[in-house]
Symmetry: C2
Amino acid sequence: MFGVTILGNNSAVPAYDRHPTAQVVTLNDQLFLIDCGEGTQMQISRYRIRRSKIHHIFISHLHGDHYFGLIGLITSMGLLGREQELHIYGPPELEGIIQLQLKVADTRLPFPLHFHPLTEEGLLTESPRFSVECFSTKHRIPCWGFVIREKRKPRKIDKEKLLRYEIPAAYYEQLKSGADYETKDGNIIPNEAVTIPNKAPRSYGFCADTKYDEGIIEKVKGVSVLYHETTYLKDLTERAENRFHSTTVQAAMIAQKAGVEKLLIGHFSSKYETLDAFRTEAREVFENTELAIEGVTYKIG
Amino acid sequence: MFGVTILGNNSAVPAYDRHPTAQVVTLNDQLFLIDCGEGTQMQISRYRIRRSKIHHIFISHLHGDHYFGLIGLITSMGLLGREQELHIYGPPELEGIIQLQLKVADTRLPFPLHFHPLTEEGLLTESPRFSVECFSTKHRIPCWGFVIREKRKPRKIDKEKLLRYEIPAAYYEQLKSGADYETKDGNIIPNEAVTIPNKAPRSYGFCADTKYDEGIIEKVKGVSVLYHETTYLKDLTERAENRFHSTTVQAAMIAQKAGVEKLLIGHFSSKYETLDAFRTEAREVFENTELAIEGVTYKIG
């Protein structure tokens, strides 16, 4: 399972029962929380997200609609007796904000909290199964996007051929990781002759808040699903530019130029009560576009 | 109109669609917000509270379930173009928390924000129509309760008697404020002979978070409505004591000893899915008790 569940799809001021930005990416039994606007802990309960499975939280920037819910989530995790460690990645000033609020409440968290300041683009964390990178976007204050990638999966054994070449089971793991096999006689059986490639690794790109910026294209090239903000419809291109946000058409152009498989759009301005026009406009440029709707989980790859 | 609308009635961790503490007191066209847990701005929209009428916000203490929604509310007020001044009363450290979060977002509020640190008991603000006092409660960290009082209303003119004593209209305002009338002959007509008292001024007492503390009785003596926390039912008296909270019976005893007209109870622990037992237990001690239910406005006096 690799998917993203939308907990909030609205921009700054909550409206029409839409919430500020928060998303949970599920990769097998690992949950990644991206951004944490006010009310995220309530949305987590509402959509029955297993908060104990969240070990990594990524905060794109310090506009309130992307992080005001973080301190409440952390505090509640503590009150609920969490013991597992939690990693938070965000702009450097975020650590002081968290620590100050814990201090004045005389709160000592019962779990280890590791803060990782975002200062440069690149790898943030990885395991044998995934990696997470960050890249900077163009917003009014420092802002970061994230790419969560599955690691390349081991090759699959072609059992029929193994039998034909009489390769012992003890070598299977080496073959999966791509090694050739040397027979007793010193002959080499190439890996490709006895294994088949697994599915291509899937990936999710989250572009945070940003004005139209072709610098992003390289960072999210070919991802399975790209989330790009679309605060405004295309008739407000100038307003988008002035406020360091993007329109439907701009998001779709990035998706197209980056050659992604699917585009997910969100961060809708509170001025829009309905969202259909966002989909229509984006699809005129990039057909495989979906609206990020709260509560829905979008499959990645 | 004098009443209190409950926006959140739950303790620390939100549960069962109950929200953390927040209440709006309406006194004619003046709204006072007391505490502002996470999600308060959404509750304000949900219950159609006119946020532009809020000029005073009182924060009892710096546990998150009483203030994590404040920065979001302030920020949204700014984004919505508020220009009127806003007064915030809270523990001194709150100002730094607000300013830090505005600074990292590079936010300049379009309205004047006046912060008033709570440091000693007494009068916080007053107008010709109301006064607000604070008093300290016994909690794990410094914590404040509030009393909002209507000012005593002017006496009413008894028109029939004014005619009988031939008192000119120019003296009416002086009579209303309690002055006697001296006739041309030097005779004194006592105020009580020509005016009748108006209704007694009404008042609302908010006890914040507190363990059972008889020191509170004097502060809220005779208020029209007393809000007192009841985090636990009476079988958890020891837990309440340890965690600086109160039980149903303790809240009702304070109400009884303070001779208040009505008791409103809230701040229910997340361990309770239903609330009926809270009412039953409190009423055994103090009959005129109501549960603080979200969205309901309770008349004061």
